[in-house]
Subunit: 345 residues, 2 copies
Amino acid sequence: MKRTQMFVLLAVCFLCAAGGQLVNGQELLNQGRYVLLIHGGAGTILREKMSPAKEKNYRLALEKALKAGYTAIKSGRPAPEAVQAAIRVLEDDSLFNAGRGAVFTHDGKNELDASIMDGKTGKAGAVAGVTVIKNPIDAAKAVMERSEHVMMAGRGAELFARECGLTIVDPRYFYTEERWQGLQRAIREDARKSKPDHSYQGTGYPDYKLGTVGAVALDQEGNLAAGTSTGGMTNKKFGRIGDSPVIGAGTYAKNQTAAVSCTGWGEYFIRSVAAYDLSALMEYQNMPVAAAGEAVMKKIGALGGDGGLIALDQNGNAAMPFNTAGMYRAAITNDGKTEIYIYKD
Amino acid sequence: MKRTQMFVLLAVCFLCAAGGQLVNGQELLNQGRYVLLIHGGAGTILREKMSPAKEKNYRLALEKALKAGYTAIKSGRPAPEAVQAAIRVLEDDSLFNAGRGAVFTHDGKNELDASIMDGKTGKAGAVAGVTVIKNPIDAAKAVMERSEHVMMAGRGAELFARECGLTIVDPRYFYTEERWQGLQRAIREDARKSKPDHSYQGTGYPDYKLGTVGAVALDQEGNLAAGTSTGGMTNKKFGRIGDSPVIGAGTYAKNQTAAVSCTGWGEYFIRSVAAYDLSALMEYQNMPVAAAGEAVMKKIGALGGDGGLIALDQNGNAAMPFNTAGMYRAAITNDGKTEIYIYKD
């Protein structure tokens, strides 16, 4: 056992020494200290199916989110604020499945989940199944900072957000024609299937769970934070809650290890306790963040799950592994150099 | 670091060799292989405040739950069924804060949470905030076995339970006079306090979060399972979700490590990812189950949280650590010997 661990560690060190930081086979170009990573979801994102105009929009949105988080960091704001600033931009952008542009449930609603964790204090906040809070990440942060609770759901969470003075919107604010058509396609797809227990399924559409957003940040005081926000899966039923609002599954942060935000097929990330597992591998097996990220995604894949994650440690080492065709992802270093990626290679 | 680990391991081995299994300073008496552990919550349970009649009722209830789970195991049923059988008894008994006898929310409702995990398959199911399902543990098991989801909340979860043919009851079924009076006391207590942000708090009553129930089982094929069920905290607001329905926090099971069910101040167990952390300590640091359980409870205590947990490994080694004055807990070995404990000593 110990020999195996040693071997893995040596192999990882060799890879790092040989080519800098390997991020799912793709090297992060900058050698500086990363201070913010973001993702906009992992899934079947293929170059041949992407128009240049659409790709440009995604890149612009990711860059705008990076800049918002980076500005917070450079202003000396704490890591949770940088995470919040980046995620707000992605929530407000209808390209992503979070905030405006979220996918629809089977009943034609937008039910949003979000969570945030502060790596310095170990405090966390999450909201699940909210329908009228403009920026769910704001609500998650308010739960963390202004309540003794960690997780609030549904109307109760909305009442809390209202009492905190957060922006409340008509549920129609979240509507986009593209997502609505996505629901109609999913419902037609459902009707064509004949499995008798199908009404309990409906999660198998590769891209109907795409587009969760997340951010991990390292502030000027060396503190970490992580956050995630999502609209969940198209056509979801039964008040399904995915991994995004589950601390330990979709989001986790601890200064001594890493800040982590996950995206993908949520059920597998919950069963794997994915975000905390990455931290545990670093803490208990002395794995570097990149190796821990790869190990977690390998386990998810072995279970049959797919998706990706972003992770950042206190030294600015970054990892963005995924096992799908693509993941919208971007990074910025302490000196402001940005990198934006979409496909696997 | 490695020297420290070695020392801890040696110290634990010495303790085990010297006096059998140490369970929070209290030795489990039987030397046999434990097959089922249950708990009925941890909190300020003081011998001087307990009447002999009440204590007898608790002991009888715990024994009845043990027997129900044990019968399932002896009949060759899989571990999740044994967990379900034991928890159903505790849910049906109004002594415990789960199922009938659950505490009331601020709005005078009983909102129930439950979860279950199968250590063999790694599958899991959970429901949160349900109000009409007689046995929430049945619903959690149905989510695990009959859906592709892990977590369902509120009315959606209830609709699913109904479609699965589970027993649906009028919400008044859960009512008990004692819990109702408990809510009235909590509301009066609230009114006396003057903190301006108090409406977001209300979790500080030591025993208003007491009484979550849970079970961990080892079946005849050597498979593990864990489950937890609760009514949450008296006077809870804002759709608060505690650790009980959160896989990794309140419940976790993996054949290679342990089955774990937690009880206590849920927010601390979520932030600590407590149940999975116990498993990670066993898997990544080769800790025995008892040492891992103690380590997890020590971390919860260091954060300011309180509660306890039960954990069982594939060899029938058991741990039931807690850092409160008492925890309703019981264990049964493969040969049917039972042990029932309430206080610390």
